[in-house]
């Protein structure tokens, strides 16, 4: 009786040792395998991901999570490369954009320096030179502003803003520009007062940039509206356009992004990027929609809680 119990116990113990031994072996193999593959991943720029030698314990979960991290890392690397490339290209084109009006101004000045020039022409040319310098100034301002926003160096003062009034004020500043463009915009501003929490200057800039964008790129059918809806202040600026395609919509808020390949117009591609940045800082969203030939941007900012 005792003997069979003893034999039984011995067998059970042997069995248990065997099972544990195998498990240990599997763990070791798996870890060695993972370590080897990680060396490769560390040294090479590769799409490869970790694989499993044998499923044991939670090692497969570890592998999965590591692969996720690697995936994210490569994604951000790619994004970074793309952004750097876009950034470098922008620097080149911005310097070109700045150089052009300066060269033009210089040209006019050289003409003006000639003695035989009649005073009327001289005045005209002087005005042109001033205009060119203003253009350069504008561009530089936009660039510097964006750089400061990125570095979070803007001064930001949150206060209660009466959206309707501020909006109307800003829109009216562009009256002359619309007259010049020969197309009066349809403007709708709701009467009921509503407020948001944000920086005054930033809000003005948002509206400014939206309207500027419409003026520069649009071809008519301007509609500018403001109303409060579902707890949000909703601003919408839309215009007719033929220079934007569906594929551009997703990228329109990207910094330096512009569909003007010829760079014939003076855009830095930063206007809408600034709109989004400011909007997001006030807790809202900016969204672009293209329906046929009608392009519109809608900005939603949460209303200040009463």
């Amino acid at each position: 009786m005792m003997q069979s119990v003893l034999t039984g116990t011995v067998f059970v113990l042997l069995g248990a040792t065997g099972i544990l031994g195998i498990r240990l072996w599997r763990y070791r193999k798996q870890i060695n395998h993972i370590s080897e593959e990680l060396s490769v991943l560390r040294e090479e720029d590769t799409n490869y991901r970790l694989s499993s030698y044998c499923a044991v314990g939670k090692t497969e979960e570890v592998i999965r999570k590591t692969n996720d991290i690697i995936g994210h890392y490569r994604e951000s690397e790619k994004k970074l490369k793309k952004e750097n490339a876009a950034y470098r290209q922008s620097i080149t084109s911005i310097s070109h954009d700045i150089r052009t009006p300066l060269t033009s101004a210089k040209g006019y000045i050289q003409i003006m320096q000639e003695a035989e020039i009649n005073p009327e022409k001289r005045m005209k040319y002087a005005a042109i030179v001033e205009q060119r310098l203003d253009d350069v100034n504008d561009m530089l301002n936009q660039l510097f502003e964006y750089a400061r926003i990125e570095a979070d160096e803007m001064s930001w003062e949150t206060e209660v803003l009466n959206v309707g009034n501020l909006f109307a004020e800003t829109v009216s500043m562009f009256y002359d520009d619309f007259v010049e463009a020969g197309c009066e915009p349809e403007v709708e501003i709701q009467n009921a007062p509503c407020h948001i929490m944000g920086d005054r200057h930033a809000f003005v800039r948002i509206v400014e940039n939206l309207i500027k964008n419409a003026l520069v790129h649009g071809e008519g059918d301007y509609r500018i509206t403001f109303q409060s809806e579902g707890g949000y202040a909703v601003i919408c600026v839309s215009n007719k356009t033929s220079s934007i395609e569906k594929k551009d919509i997703g990228r329109i808020f990207e910094r330096f992004y512009t569909t003007d390949q010829s760079r014939s117009r003076k855009t830095t591609g930063l206007g809408l990027a600034i709109v989004r940045k400011f909007t997001e800082k006030m807790g809202g969203t900016a969204e672009a929609v293209l329906e046929g030939e009608q392009f519109s941007i809608t900005v939603r900012i949460p209303l200040a809680s009463e």
Binding site: R42, E44, N47, Y48, E60
Partner: protein, 311 residues
């Protein structure tokens, strides 16, 4: 050598480099001393007639056949067994089990290689456009669908290098365009280098960045896509009896230096195409018999046919 942190990533010169790779069957060399160079990011077009040795070469690189002579270097290294984990291949017909569904076929691959991502199969099927095949067995697939499954299998382990042997064989034009778009996407978005063989030159010329021409098992030319457009330039072709004299006249009398002599008795003048009549006159008065003179712009097909056929 253990280093903490991420070591500086190596960028090897060539993804694939072979050195006098040879395969002998009996008395013939199916592949004869082929040394090709495929750079990272290339789409390398392998061109040759049927039976020229393209498939045999690719099988050697893929590890399916052992070379008789010569070396292969993958990713700059010689330990091929390990390096081949990073390549995906589709050689001749795809290796699939006809009595299983597409999902089951990929599941076999997933398990065989220990890929832990449970959604990998579904994602890959969606990626190649086979996401809705459900329980349909592969033997009931159309040719295009089978090819797509083959490509799915070759992409399954996130390769850095794809070896595709006639992947558009048997596809309809829509299918061909799909594959072409897919390959371009893989090349630009995932930085996958591709070695692709085909005898449909038009297709290949749309995406290839480098070409390798195989004839009779040997690599007769290797050049970049830009060089190809160079070679196919518009020119004035002349068939003359005395090429040397003609060349002298071109240089001395006409001051033309842009020409070449592709074969004896043939002359190609690349510039001064509007003066072709004058060229004719000068050559004839100079004592050269001009049998033929015409303006030609070689298209790719013609150029390759020349290389593969008559030469």
């Amino acid at each position: 050598m253990e280093k903490s942190g991420i070591t500086e990533r190596k960028s090897m010169d060539y993804i694939l480099k072979t050195n006098n790779l040879t395969k002998t069957y009996g008395k013939t060399n199916a592949v004869d001393s082929v040394s090709i160079h495929v750079k990272r990011g290339d789409i390398y077009g392998f061109i040759g007639k049927n039976g020229a040795g393209k498939t045999t070469f690719m099988r050697m690189v893929a590890g399916l056949a052992a070379p008789t002579r010569g070396e292969i270097e993958l990713f700059g290294k010689r330990d091929l067994e390990k390096q081949r984990k990073r390549i995906g291949t589709l050689i001749e017909n795809p290796g699939i089990y006809p009595n299983m569904t597409a999902e089951e076929n990929l599941e076999v691959i997933r398990r065989s290689f220990g890929i832990t991502d449970k959604n990998a199969v579904k994602d890959m099927l969606a990626f190649v456009g086979l996401g809705d095949t459900g329980r349909k067995k592969v033997k009931n697939f159309s040719m295009g669908m089978k090819q797509r499954l083959g490509i799915a299998i070759s992409l399954f382990r996130n390769p850095d290098f794809l070896i595709l042997d006639e992947p558009i064989n048997g596809l309809d034009p829509a299918g061909i365009k799909e594959i072409r778009d897919l390959l371009l996407k893989l090349n630009t978005e995932r930085n996958i280098t591709i070695l692709i063989s085909s005898h449909i030159l038009g297709e290949l010329s749309k995406i290839a960045t480098r070409y390798g021409i195989i004839k009779g098992g040997a690599l007769i030319e290797e050049f970049a896509a830009e060089e190809l457009s160079e070679k196919c330039r518009r020119c004035q072709k002349l068939a003359v009896d005395n090429a040397e004299l003609a060349v002298t006249i071109l240089e001395e009398k006409l001051h033309i230096t842009e020409y070449d002599v592709p074969e004896s008795g043939m002359l190609r003048v690349f510039g001064h195409l509007d003066e072709s009549a004058r060229v004719n006159r000068e050559l004839i008065t100079g004592g050269v018999e001009v049998r033929e003179s015409y303006l030609a712009g070689q298209d790719l097909e013609a150029y390759f046919m020349d290389l593969l056929g008559e030469s």
